[in-house]
């Protein structure tokens, strides 16, 4: 058996919770962990925000300065999306073991100190979400304080071996990332816990965000493993990715409504929430959203093979050439970055979300098989069924 075949066999028998991306010429190793989240109510979402902000602050073994030594100064980053918490660690080549050791410590032995929980809550209270983000993530504001006990409870439920998918990318020997992670976490057992308790909601005042209004038309959720996911993805691209898309032509060119307008497949625990979003300035947002919906529906009716071909071309740019106009908003800032870290995160995320490897060619094949008639029907249904917000 050749060395390569041996390496492939080793990887094939490894659990699906580790994904390796090899880049022998890379100047760093990127470690991307995805901890899936269940459907959370307003209060639990706030707890999750505090958890994401505190989990990598300090562990039993490492204070921030120790972490910066391992990473050669690059801060450990964490972020929250409705369906996951991400931990991102970049280390120099040669520090794979130390980097995974740090992730292990963050995953199992984070201190989540009272002080850091309070500081995170203070930051959240003062934070002004920009209107675009607020429109995408329409969580109702929760004014109840978050306790350390709640954060620690969610931590125990979320950071478990079965719930964590780890992506390792960069310069290291094939299989080393998987072996090192499995060896480190062999004694890590998922705790048995009672279901999460969500305290009853309490109404909260709506915070004004200034003159900018973000119009949003949100359609029913698409399951992550929807057999027609490729076609729906293509419909989202036809509607809102690129400057030949309906949103650009209608919202910007025809209605002169906005500078930024996109379609988004927003990750939620149940799958992906399709929506079209446009930032504008108007004192009649509901009327503007309806005007937008009507104009988009008229536009979709007129789609031809030219529109389908453009959407396919755009899909190739997104999936094969990493042009950053993908509707798949997998990070708070939009699509993942076009670098080793972004690719490693996408691989880990897709595995966690769908149970399958991320395969752009397969997605494209599904898109190419989508007829114009199907494409128009899907887009029309998405818009017709959407609720304006």
């Amino acid at each position: 058996m050749s060395l390569l075949a041996l390496a492939a066999a080793t990887l094939a028998t490894a659990p699906a919770s580790v994904v390796e991306i090899h880049a022998p010429s890379a100047n760093e190793i990127t470690i991307q962990a995805v901890a899936k989240l269940p459907v959370l109510g307003p209060h639990a979402q706030k707890v999750a925000q505090v958890l994401a902000m505190t989990v990598a602050k300090q562990t039993e073994e490492y204070i921030r300065r120790d972490m910066l030594v391992i990473t050669n100064g690059q801060p450990v980053r964490t972020s929250l999306m409705p369906d996951h918490i991400r931990v991102s660690i970049l280390v120099p080549p040669g520090n794979l073991r130390a980097g995974l050791g740090l992730l292990d410590a963050i995953g199992r032995r984070s201190l989540l100190s009272e002080e850091s929980v309070q500081a995170a809550e203070g930051t959240l209270r003062a934070r002004r979400r920009d209107p675009w983000s607020a429109a995408l993530w329409a969580a109702s504001e929760d004014l109840r304080p978050v306790t350390r006990a709640e954060v620690a409870d969610l931590y125990r439920r979320t950071f478990t071996p079965g719930n964590l998918t780890v992506g390792v990318g960069g310069r290291f020997a094939v299989g080393d990332g998987t072996r090192e992670w499995l060896a480190r976490t062999a004694d890590w057992v998922s705790p048995k816990l009672s279901p999460w308790y969500e305290p009853p909601a309490r109404p909260s005042p709506v915070r004004s965000e200034g003159p900018l209004v973000v119009l949003k038309l949100a359609a029913p959720v698409i399951p992550a493993r929807d057999p027609a996911f490729s076609s729906r993805f293509l419909a989202a691209i036809a509607l809102g990715s690129g400057k030949g898309a309906s949103m650009f032509r209608v919202a910007r060119e025809q209605l002169g409504l906005s500078y930024r307008q996109e379609s988004v497949l927003w990750p939620v625990p149940q799958g992906f929430l399709p929506m079209v979003v446009a930032a504008t300035t108007t004192d009649k947002p509901a009327a503007a959203a309806e005007e937008l919906r009507t104009a988009l529906l008229e536009d979709v009716k007129e789609w031809t093979e030219v529109h389908r071909a453009r959407a396919l071309g755009m899909a190739e740019s997104i999936l094969l050439r990493s042009v950053d106009t993908s509707p798949l908003y997998l990070t708070p800032a939009g699509p993942p970055s076009d670098d080793l870290t972004g690719r490693t995160f996408t691989a880990a995320y897709w595995q966690a979300k769908t149970g399958e490897p991320f395969d752009p060619e397969r997605l494209l094949a599904g898109m190419r098989a989508t007829t114009l008639k199907d494409l128009k029907e899907i887009a029309f249904e998405m818009l017709a069924a959407s609720k304006s917000q």
Binding site: Q74, K243, R252, S258, T281, V306, R310, G313, R321
Partner: protein, 384 residues
């Protein structure tokens, strides 16, 4: 098996030695082409840079370059994007203080398509008053969704350089009153050979790609466009509509060793802070490196006051090195980094910063750190 493998490996090692990694060509009219070969790259980046030389904005013209960028990026019949996207390409445009940039990403076989698109954006299309007004309104929307970090940086620039550091987004009144003639004049002024660079990065042949790029630049008149400079910049305290706080180091040109040291120092101190941002656009002129947070609680100033050069020196160098190295990772970042520097001066290249970082002394790093001190830096006080 091993007999056939060994020659292949040897050839594989020799290939990069036989062909240089990049080729820079300066045309008789002053325009330049740089092509970087990136074997096995999955996309091709074809970018056009137009220097702001000769079209530096005043209070009366502030924003015309940005508006012009919006107008020409649509192509001759406003269908350029649709045509490109159908061919698997994508166009993006940006206006910086020192240059305007148009980037076309295409499949590896799409060099001709990419260059044709750039050729199209080099022409001034005929646009009506109504179209100009609509685009000016779109820029209003663009201004409204700018992140706080951009607002904080814009305030720092205006404090440091006054009328020579105006925000590229533009003055809404100027944009509302802009005419076709205003835009055509700006277009004419900037379209001279010395102001133009085409940068290409991807799996292409150096000679062939250069030849094709020269075809679209060769006919541009040499013209005249004098260099002007912003001056040294002025420290001080400034309020900003952006939320948060920032400190901006006044630095010299990109090639200046102190610029490298200030970048290293800024990145090192930012790594001590939660959610800090660092903004620096490479320039051949005086410039700013802005370190900030979109929360205002005094932690940025405190972090610089507490910073110990000895403790942060190695980390700052490593972080700044990574900042440069990331620009070599894909065709888009390579063409962008090389083109933006080349359009400002034929002597500028990204590696200069790496060399300055490698030779950086602790004394220089201290100087870089001191550039963020009260009295030396621009202190931006944003909204709470």
């Amino acid at each position: 098996m091993s007999l056939t493998l060994i020659p292949a490996i040897v050839l594989g090692l020799q290939a990069p030695i036989l062909q240089p990694p990049r080729l820079r060509t300066v045309l008789p009219n002053g325009a330049a082409v740089i092509v970087e070969r990136m074997p096995n790259a999955k996309s091709l980046s074809v970018q056009l840079f137009i220097s702001a030389r000769g079209t530096q904005e005043t209070l009366q013209t502030n924003g015309l370059r940005h508006l012009l960028e919006h107008i020409v990026a649509r192509g001759k019949d406003r269908t350029l994007d649709t045509r490109l996207e159908t061919a698997g390409g994508f166009l993006q445009a940006r206006t910086y203080r020192d240059a305007m940039a148009f980037e076309v990403t295409v499949p590896t076989t799409g060099l001709k398509t990419g260059l044709e698109a750039l050729s199209e954006v080099m022409r001034m299309p005929r646009v009506s008053r109504e179209e100009i007004t609509k685009e000016a309104r779109i820029i209003d929307h663009e201004r409204a969704i700018r992140p706080d970090s951009a607002l904080l940086a814009a305030s720092a620039w205006e404090q440091a350089f006054g009328d020579k550091g105006l925000d590229t987004q533009g003055n809404p009144d100027t944009l509302a009153a802009a005419t076709f003639e205003d835009l055509a004049k700006t277009h004419r002024q900037q379209m001279v050979g010395k102001n133009l660079v085409v940068a290409i990065a991807g799996d292409v042949g150096l000679d062939d790609a250069t030849r094709q790029a020269v075809e679209i630049l060769g006919a541009i008149p040499k013209g005249t466009a004098a260099d002007t400079y912003r001056g040294k910049g002025k420290p001080g305290v400034v309020e900003s509509p952006g939320r948060g706080e920032a400190r901006a180091a006044l630095v010299g040109p990109y090639r200046d060793p102190v610029t490298a040291a200030a970048l290293a120092a800024g990145l090192a101190v930012a790594s001590e802070l939660e959610d800090a941002f660092v903004t620096y656009t490479p320039s051949n002129d005086s410039s700013l490196i802005v370190v900030g947070r979109t929360e205002r609680n005094g932690t940025v100033g405190a972090a610089f006051s507490a910073a110990k050069a000895e403790a942060l020196f190695s980390r700052g160098r490593a972080l700044a090195r990574r900042w440069v190295e990331r620009q070599f990772e894909n065709p888009s970042s390579v063409a962008s980094a090389r083109g933006l520097l080349l359009v400002q001066s034929v002597a500028l290249r990204p590696e200069t910063l790496l060399e300055n970082l490698d030779s950086m002394t602790l004394g220089q790093f201290r100087k870089g750190l001191a550039a963020y001190a009260d009295g030396e830096a621009v202190v931006v006080e944003g909204a709470r």
